[in-house]
């Protein structure tokens, strides 16, 4: 590349994500799943939300309902598992904690992927990518791929390339690949393969003669803005190598909602952290309500910058909520479970919360009276009285208190143990 020396020292973006995350998290504790087709099912064991490479090879589509797969599972040797949100939440937190050691600038993009700001020569960046890949695999136990490029959009593309082309061995540094090869990749791939380009936009782009990623990268950004949106213009600029997708503090994914940020000034007290977590708790509540969702599990995390501090700390907690909720008080209280792990004087460079195990609000809350227990103080007192007199499980809010297992709304017949968060479900190691 004939870029001036200053260009090469510009910070780049590393995009790291876990391969088939849910399936990989299961395999980390059950090696017998290695090499077998595995699908992880959505809430109520509805449909396949994660497929291992072997399951994809069988032609199982994303979102395929379990009742269609079940009759052939035996013949295929297919293993189906219910979503083990506790496990995935903890493994995700561990991956993010570990990645945080490699960059002060970390943006958790979803439960299984993150962007990191990275600097160095091409060789150093490639080496960093390999180091991160090896470390996550070894220390946490799940496989990742890494894409490193001048922009987020290209880093995502580089990661996708690394996943599909074994020659990269899981790590692709965009600028280190020959320009001809990059061009031919971009010519081969349809615009729909780009992060953030939806199907309906693809049709409109195609109508303008823009078919491939290469076509889009060569389009006039101003024309794209006028005909589409600023968002699409950013994508064009990003494909051209100009960073313009800003740091995001909030993302909603298929089955999770994340609030996190790096701080301009490090947080050094539990009191300040309490404020940050409270803000996130309330934001999460508002967003959940807006999307008509409730959460069952909350993960709160914080981390020091690996570079600026000799006291490193990456605390995280995984808090099962007492019932599916979007209640700001419950969410904030749950997020505060991180506070005992925040040590005064340590300089925390980032913090965040993630809510997972989301389900539509309509599925529970059988009585409107109980929707917000905090507005009905007397209900709480009554419940306590009854519980004290007749025992736990004799009464509860809505369905929540009814005996018969904690996951009363969910059918999770194929749930693996919550290996890392429950003492009575630890992984067993054979001494034989």
């Amino acid at each position: 590349m004939s870029k001036p020396a200053t260009m090469r020292r510009m910070p780049q973006i590393a995009h790291v994500d876990v391969n088939c995350f849910y399936a990989s998290a299961e395999r980390a504790f059950d090696p017998s799943l290695e090499g077998r087709p595995v699908v992880v099912l959505s809430n109520n064991d509805g449909c396949a939300v994660t497929r291992s490479a072997e399951a994809k090879a069988l032609g199982i589509a994303l979102g395929e309902p379990w009742f269609k797969l079940a009759p052939r599972a035996k013949e295929w040797g297919l293993v189906a598992l219910s979503s083990n949100y506790e496990l995935y939440g903890d493994i995700s937190a561990r991956v993010m904690e570990l990645l945080g050691r490699y960059s002060a600038w970390l943006e958790v993009n979803s439960i299984d992927e993150a962007f990191l700001g990275v600097k160095g020569t091409p060789d150093q960046l490639l080496a960093l990518g390999r180091t991160m890949k090896t470390a996550v695999r070894r220390n946490v136990g799940v496989p990742v791929c890494v894409g490193i490029a001048p922009t987020k959009t290209l880093a995502k593309l580089a990661n996708k390339w690394a996943k599909h082309n074994p020659a990269f061995d899981g790590v692709c540094h965009w600028d280190s690949v020959a320009a001809d090869d990059r061009e031919s990749l971009m010519r081969r791939l349809s615009v729909i393969e780009i992060w953030g380009v939806a199907t309906r936009l693809t049709k409109r782009l195609n109508a303008l003669g823009i078919q491939s990623i290469l076509d889009l990268s060569r389009a006039d950004p101003v024309m794209i803005r006028d005909r589409f949106s600023v968002v699409m213009m950013r994508t064009v600029l990003e494909l051209q190598g100009t960073q313009c997708i800003p740091m995001e503090e909030e993302r909603i994914g298929r089955d999770q909602l994340i609030f996190s940020r790096s701080f301009a000034t490090p947080i050094t007290t539990a009191a300040a952290m309490r404020q940050v977590l409270s803000v996130y708790g309330q934001q999460a509540s508002a967003r959940l309500a807006k999307h008509g969702l409730q959460a069952k599990l909350l993960t709160a995390f914080a981390g020091t910058s690996h570079f600026n501090s000799k006291d490193t700390s990456y605390p995280s907690v995984c808090v099962p909520l007492p019932m599916p909720t979007a209640d700001p008080v419950l969410l904030t209280r749950a997020a505060h479970a991180l506070l005992p792990h925040i040590h005064g004087g340590i300089r925390y460079a980032r913090a965040g919360i993630m809510v997972t195990d989301l389900r539509p609000t309509g599925n529970q809350a059988p009585l409107a009276l109980f929707e917000n227990p905090h507005e009905e103080r007397r209900v709480g007192t009554l419940l306590e009285d009854v519980t004290r007199r007749y025992g736990r499980g004799s009464i509860g809010l809505g369905h929540a208190g009814i005996r018969g297992g904690p996951d009363w709304t969910m059918k999770r017949d194929m749930l693996s143990p919550r290996y890392t968060t429950h003492w009575d479900e630890l992984p067993l190691v054979k001494a034989a």
Binding site: S32, L98, N139, P340, T420, L426, P427, V429, A431, A432
Partner: protein
């Protein structure tokens, strides 16, 4: 009137964890003599776990490691970040199962040993022929 700021211990309601909070005012003239020496309760996480991100707890099933003081039902603290060495107690993946063994690295090859004569050794040419899941650092033995 002066105020002495001192720490107070609360139970955080979580296993193995307690936390210091402050300030709690104490009337001058009645300082606790222990106050200057109190740094908090023993935190087992701090002493038993070096790298929390890379550490898992597992439970032993079987009696093949009795000779190493590791019994059926004991919990092990396993650090995945450690390099397995000669003499390490490791969790290895054998036939798709997490299995605990003593790792022996010799000039002639690598041996996974049980610590119980009833179980045979497993020999492989080199460590790279094994999948080592993690290295056990502590055994929480039930006495």
């Amino acid at each position: 009137m002066g105020v002495v700021v001192g720490p107070r211990v609360i139970d955080a309601g979580m296993s193995l964890v307690s936390v210091l909070i402050s300030p709690v005012p104490v009337a001058a003239g009645y300082p606790s003599p222990a106050q200057d020496y109190f740094d908090g309760r023993i935190d087992l996480n701090e002493h038993l776990i070096k790298d929390i991100t890379s550490t898992y707890v597992v439970r032993v099933s079987g009696d093949s490691m009795e000779g190493a003081g590791i019994s059926d039902g004991d919990e092990l603290i396993v650090n995945r970040a450690l390099e397995p060495k000669d003499g390490s107690v490791v969790i290895a993946v054998l036939d798709g199962e997490l299995t605990i063994k003593r790792l022996r690295v010799t000039g002639t090859g690598v041996v996974l040993q049980a610590e119980n004569p009833a179980y045979p050794d497993i020999r492989v040419p080199s460590v790279s022929d094994l999948v080592i899941w993690g290295v056990a650092t502590r055994c929480l033995h039930h006495v």
